[in-house]
C-alpha cells in the first residue's frame, strides 16, 4: 500500500522570489534610464556601462575563486553593482575609470565584508566615492547634449562634445541665471551622470518596482520630501523661497532615492526605520548641497545613513507580539 501521509518540515508554501530574481528585476527596471542615457550622451555612455558591468562581474568571480568561496556571479548582484556604478559616472570618462571603480566596489565595498548580504555600505556608492576622491578631474567633467537632441529631430552640432558643469554645479558657483528649465531637467537635457539625467526613465523603472512590491515607498518618499522641504526652507537667501523642484529634479536624487537608498542590505528593515533613514538621507543631501563644498551630496548622504542603519534598526525593533 502506498503511503499518502508524507511528513515534511515547514515551510510548505514557496514563493518564487529569490535574491537572484530580485537583483535581475531591479537591473531590468534600470534599463530605461540606461537607454535614455545612451540616447542622450551617445555610444560612449554605452561603453562605460558595459565596462562597468563586465569588470564588476569578473572581479567578483576572481575574488570568489581566490578565496575559494562558492562562485555566485550569476545571482545578478555584481551585475547590478557594476550597472549602478556606471550610471553614476559621467559619460566621457577614460575607459579605465569604470573598471577601477567596479573592482574597488566589489573588492573593498562588498567581498571584504564577506560578500552579498554582509556589506555595510552600498558597494556601487563606495566605488563612486572612491573614484570621486581619487580622480575628481574626470568625475566632474560633464558633456551636455546640444539643445534639441533630446527631441531627436535636429542633428547635433558638428563637434563631438562640449564640456560644462551640471546644473547643481552652476548653482554652487553662483551662476543662477544659467538655470536649466524644469522640462529639460525632467527629460535629461542637461549635464550629469549617465543614469541620473533622465528622470522620466528612472520614474518608469521605479514605478515598476513599487507596483511589483520590490521596493517600498517609505525610503524614496521620505528622502525626496525631506530634500524638497529643506531646500525650500534654506535653499535661497530668504527662508521659504528655495527652488525645491529644481533640487528634486537635478543631480542624482531620483536615482539615489529609488535605486540606491532602497538597497535591502544597507537600509533599515522596518517601515519606521526606513522613514528615519530617508529623512536622514534627505537632510544630509540638502545640507551638502546648500552649505557643503560639493555641488552634489546624494552619494555621501546615502553612505552616511548606511553607517547609521544598524543603530536605526536597533531602536526601531518592532514589539514582540504579546509583550
Amino acid at each position: 500500500m502506498k503511503n499518502n501521509l508524507l511528513v515534511n518540515i515547514s515551510p510548505h508554501l514557496h514563493g518564487k522570489e529569490s535574491v537572484s530574481r530580485i537583483m535581475w528585476i531591479v537591473a531590468l527596471s534600470l534599463i530605461p534610464a540606461g537607454l535614455a542615457g545612451v540616447y542622450i550622451f551617445g555610444l560612449g555612455a554605452l561603453w562605460v556601462i558595459i565596462l562597468g558591468v563586465i569588470s564588476a562581474v569578473i572581479s567578483e568571480m576572481l575574488l570568489q575563486l581566490f578565496t575559494k568561496k562558492k562562485v555566485t556571479v550569476f545571482d545578478g548582484s555584481a551585475f547590478l553593482t557594476g550597472l549602478l556604478l556606471a550610471y553614476n559616472l559621467p559619460p566621457n570618462v577614460p575607459f579605465w575609470l569604470p573598471i577601477a571603480g567596479s573592482v574597488f566596489a566589489i573588492a573593498i565595498g562588498k567581498q571584504i565584508f564577506g560578500g552579498i548580504g554582509r556589506n555595510i555600505f552600498n558597494p556601487a556608492l563606495v566605488g563612486r566615492v572612491f573614484l570621486m576622491a581619487s580622480w575628481p578631474k574626470y568625475m566632474t567633467t560633464f558633456t551636455p547634449t546640444p539643445k534639441f537632441l533630446v527631441w531627436g529631430f535636429i542633428k547635433p552640432m558638428n563637434y563631438d562634445a562640449i564640456t560644462s558643469a551640471t546644473p547643481l554645479a552652476l548653482i554652487k558657483e553662483g551662476r543662477v541665471l544659467e538655470r536649466v528649465p524644469y522640462l529639460d531637467l525632467f527629460l535629461g537635457n542637461r549635464g550629469g551622470c549617465i543614469g541620473e539625467v533622465c528622470i522620466l526613465a528612472l520614474i518608469i523603472g521605479a514605478i515598476f518596482l513599487l507596483i511589483r512590491g520590490y521596493i517600498s515607498w517609505h525610503i524614496p518618499f521620505s528622502y525626496i520630501v525631506t530634500t524638497g522641504l529643506f531646500t525650500y526652507l534654506f535653499g535661497a537667501k530668504i527662508f521659504f523661497t528655495g527652488d525645491w523642484l529644481f533640487h528634486i529634479l537635478s543631480g542624482g536624487l531620483i536615482l539615489g532615492a529609488f535605486f540606491m537608498a532602497t538597497d535591502y542590505v544597507t537600509s533599515p528593515l522596518t517601515a519606521k526605520g526606513q522613514i528615519i533613514f530617508g529623512f536622514g538621507c534627505g537632510l544630509l543631501t540638502a545640507i551638502i548641497r546648500i552649505w557643503g563644498g560639493y555641488p552634489e551630496g546624494v552619494s555621501y548622504a546615502i553612505l552616511m545613513m548606511n553607517a547609521a542603519t544598524p543603530i536605526i534598526d536597533r531602536y526601531t525593533k518592532p514589539r514582540i507580539y504579546g509583550s
Binding site: P94, W96, I108, I112, F130, A133, S134, W135, P136
Partner: protein, 197 residues
C-alpha cells in the same frame, strides 16, 4: 640573552604596534604620506620609547602607584621635548613637515602602553629591548604604509619620482587612503600569521 632577543622581536612581529596592537594610529595615519616623514616619525618615537622605558624601569620602585600615569607623562614629555628641540636644530625640514605630530608623541599610546604594561613591571635591560623592538616595529609598520601610499598617491618613493606621468590615485594621499592601506595590511598580516587576532 635569549629573553632579550624575544623582548626585541615581539615588537616587530606578534605585538607589532601598528598591525598587532593597533596602537599609535594618530601618527600612523597622519604622517604616512611619505617615506621620509614616516622614517622621521619612527626614529623619533623609537628614541622616546627607549629612553622613557629606561627611566621608568629604573624608577619603577619609587613611583607611587596612585600617581604613576602623571609621572610617566612627565618622563615621556621630557624626552619628547629633547627630541623636538634636537629635530628643530638639526633637521629643520623634517621638523616642519612633521609639525605638531612630534609634540604629540607625548600622548602616543604605544609609549604609554609600554610604560604601563612593560617598563613599570620589568628590569632595566628587558625594558630597553622592549622599547627598541616596539620602536622598530612601529617604524617598520608606518614605513610600509608610507611606501604604498606615497607610490600610489604621489608617484614617488622617498621623494624620488617613479610614476610621474601616470594617473595617480589621489585618495591614497588623503586620510581614507591611510585607513584603507592600514586595514588591508592588518588583514594581510593576520592572514600570513605574523600577528594574531
Amino acid at each position: 640573552m635569549k629573553g632579550l632577543v624575544k623582548e626585541f622581536s615581539k615588537g616587530i612581529t606578534v605585538l607589532n604596534p601598528t598591525f598587532g596592537l593597533i596602537l599609535g594610529l594618530c601618527p600612523t595615519l597622519a604622517v604616512s604620506t611619505s617615506l621620509f616623514n614616516a622614517l622621521g616619525m619612527g626614529v623619533a618615537a623609537t628614541f622616546v620609547l627607549v629612553f622613557s622605558n629606561l627611566i621608568i624601569s629604573v624608577l619603577r620602585n619609587f613611583i607611587p602607584a596612585k600617581i604613576r600615569l602623571p609621572s610617566f607623562i612627565v618622563i615621556i614629555a621630557t624626552f619628547v621635548t629633547i627630541c623636538e628641540l634636537m629635530m628643530k636644530a638639526y633637521l629643520p625640514r623634517l621638523s616642519v613637515s612633521l609639525g605638531i605630530f612630534i609634540p604629540l608623541i607625548v600622548v602616543n599610546c604605544i609609549i604609554m602602553a609600554r610604560a604601563e604594561a612593560f617598563a613599570s613591571r620589568n628590569p632595566v635591560l628587558p625594558s630597553i629591548f622592549d622599547g627598541l623592538g616596539m620602536g622598530f616595529g612601529f617604524t617598520l609598520g608606518i614605513s610600509i604604509i608610507a611606501v604604498i601610499r606615497e607610490l600610489l598617491g604621489s608617484g614617488s618613493i622617498a621623494g624620488f619620482g617613479l610614476l610621474k606621468s601616470r594617473e595617480l590615485i589621489l585618495v591614497m594621499g588623503l586620510a581614507p587612503g591611510a585607513l584603507l592601506t592600514m586595514g588591508l595590511l592588518i588583514a594581510l598580516s593576520r592572514l600570513l600569521g605574523i600577528t594574531k587576532r
